[in-house]
Symmetry: C3
Subunit: 330 residues, 3 copies
């Protein structure tokens, strides 16, 4: 493992080692020296609470120095296209940006959302891969257009804390949101749940399919790990006897390049997670990556219940990221 | 003492312990380990120089790691209202924001100015209290709508450095300013000066009264500490034989919700602190929390005189905040 | 040496000591304790990648604590004029800004670009000198209107790494750019190259002369160090047999105060650095301070060639800044 771009290419052992190390770091939280004397660049092209805070704390607790960079704000705007004549509004090419940072720091974390402009381009995660291409030091994906592996690790650790390493009935359910959002979180959750061998249901309205390549990869992982994936367009079905309910809104491929399109209002009522739905689960836990729109994605009643583990997920971001940093930085 | 929201509820001993510890830390300035291995979140909803810089240095000098968060800019915008359907422009609820941070850090400092929109709402310091409500770790008020206790401690330390712990004749005088400003600094100064038993005069134009509850609290403290408070609408009277002159502009309750209202131009000349006024004091010191508008609040001549202690006040922010952090974080 | 405002007033020994110390710190990169327990303020009035990142890493690797301040954004807007009535849109006077910071930190780095509004004013570097005037701690110029000494040191170290301390044939060549840019980099490079005794050619279009005082200073340094300076308006001539080619766009004095003026399109083709030009050098290296506009200032072919040392220059910013901090902070 050189970079952490997604969990897709991790071996079973690599995947498990991160979770095991994270649990150990959580159980004995103190400052260690894996990053002593090292700086880590944290490049934010988008806002963030959990990632900004938890990565800074993670680097510090490993003895290192977090260096925050906000291109287009505190730093220069970045050009990603090759062989371009840079006479427009972009100031610095990614080739220089990353190669320079690589000289200062021992790892680079990067956060970059999908712009929802061009599906065929963005589905390849071009910004993330440009960072990885030019970097001489490990690159950690802190959420890209298509993946959010740190979140997925935190989610898997949270499930394991509640249920041990048993395979569980897990629902990833779409929810209505006032804005069109990227697919990174559902993609990475689906992949990681498949890699853990869970019995996974993905529920979303018709036309909201996740990327077909991603689904193929997840299916292969599920088969290899003894799990399963089924997809439904029914907002209710997946709750029955579920152990885990993960809610997340996303925009389908068809929304890309259409800035004015939104989710149909008729979907709103059907897809919110409420107590009635949760009552049909097997005393299931409620998960969300946060930030969450209260009473839009999920009701206050569910979010504030003892079955809600959203704060644990957020805390676990810290511990898995410490494990990832410790594994990647030599 | 669990949080530091204002000085109002501190016992005499708690108040004195902060000042004594701050003086000791100033006398022997070096890195210690009260916060070794700990991170402290510094949440800024408004700009800041002294607070941003001095809190970062304070946390570092105690061995800890400052983590800066700017909601609405580097982080998500925050919803404070309970039971709200979050389908507007706010991305994250304070309940999640604070509970997540509480897992990463050992204390949370928060800076949030009054918006001057709704007096009855803002006078209760709702943002600050929402942080305190949801936090599992100590919350430190780095200036809220109604209080600025770190400034008040720094001010009291500065007075004590000049005069020892004797009770002095202290004037808090309003000044004209091109913008309407919150009351946090005069509120906290008045409270703390009362708690220290000073002989306090508050001078402001008619109609610029501080909050009646705040004045009642301050009066009780003054009585308990053997001091006194009088209020005058005369811009000159309070200078006579004064030991301490503290200038500060604020907007009265009547300005809240009226964004176009400003201070009457006729007040400008009468209320500026100049050498003539200072000459009537008992060789008094000039104080201001900074930033200060030169030749608007106070003349260059007074601000640059040897009786001006504004830089000492700013320096003392560092030392009192170190004392506060050391007292709160266990 | 108390501050580092430019290299102009450094003695030969001071100049050489910085380069020697930087090379030693680069050869043995690890955390040391020159800044143990010390904080350093890094004040950014403009965006930055290399400076922000490398200064944070530099302070950390010397054992210290970097404190970033962005006036007008995270901090208050600054008034620089003396004896001003501050009733406009500036919130804090530089006198207070700097004197307060001086109490918290052991050095202040400041980044402030030319605004290209008023040549006679800006050529005196008024912002930088205001910082130095009010500071009680060393001030380090992280690029001002007229100087960028940290870059010049990094450039000289880079030349020395390639060629030893021999005197070389060095070309500073102007290039076309879509925007009018300040002169700080060419000024400081020219000065430093003269101080190192190189055989320097400055090539720029007619009317693009550098400041006459700067040129006089540089000429005196060149003579003292056994070097030379010639100026040409020919975009080709300086490449012949050159060892070092440094490309940089700048706006001449005549552009100041004329926001709509730009470089004539006819200059674009003539002044780009391409392989044909580089082929006429003595296997010369290509240098640029970054960020660089690809295929505008220089072609991809040159920038990506093995003779391009732009990433080394950027890395060397770190090492020279560590040397400067270690030299200035006592």
């Amino acid at each position: 493992m050189r970079d952490l771009l997604s969990t897709a290419n991790l071996s079973r052992k690599e995947f498990e080692d991160i979770l095991r190390k994270a649990a150990a770091l959580k159980a004995d939280r103190r400052v260690t020296n894996e990053l002593a004397g090292r700086s880590v660049a944290l490049v934010f092209l988008n806002p963030s609470l959990r990632t900004r805070a938890s990565m800074q704390v993670a680097v510090f607790e490993l003895g290192g120095n977090p260096v925050l960079i906000e291109p287009g704000s505190t730093s220069w705007s970045i050009e990603y296209r090759d062989k371009i004549v840079m006479d427009g509004n972009k100031t610095e090419h990614i080739a220089e940006f990353v190669r320079v940072l690589s000289r200062y720091v021992s790892a680079i974390g990067v956060r970059t959302f999908a712009e929802l402009k061009d599906w065929e381009y963005e589905r390849t995660d071009p910004v993330l891969h440009a960072f990885a291409k030019y970097s001489n030091v490990p690159v950690i994906n802190l959420e890209s257009a298509m993946h959010h592996p740190c979140q997925a690790f935190a989610d898997m650790l949270t499930i394991r804390e509640r249920f041990g390493s048993e395979k569980k009935r897990v629902l990833m359910t779409w929810a209505w949101h006032p804005k069109a959002l990227p697919m990174a979180v559902p993609n990475s959750f689906v992949l990681a749940a498949a890699q853990c061998g869970h019995e996974l249901t993905i529920a979303h309205p018709a036309g909201y399919d996740l990327d077909s390549d991603l689904m193929r990869q997840a299916t292969e992982h599920a088969e290899a790990a003894g799990g399963s994936i089924r997809v439904t367009n029914d907002p209710h079905q997946g709750f029955d006897d579920g152990d885990v309910v993960y809610a997340k809104s996303w925009a389908p491929a068809s929304f890309y390049g259409r800035p004015d399109v939104g989710h149909h209002a008729s979907l709103r009522h059907d897809w919110i997670v409420d107590s009635e739905k949760m009552s049909r689960t097997n005393d299931g836990i409620f998960m969300h990556c946060l930030p969450v729109r209260r009473n839009v994605i999920v009701t206050d009643e569910v979010l504030d219940s003892s079955n809600s583990v959203v704060i644990d997920e957020a805390e676990n971001r810290l511990h898995v990221q410490k494990a990832i940093l410790a594994a990647l930085v030599k």
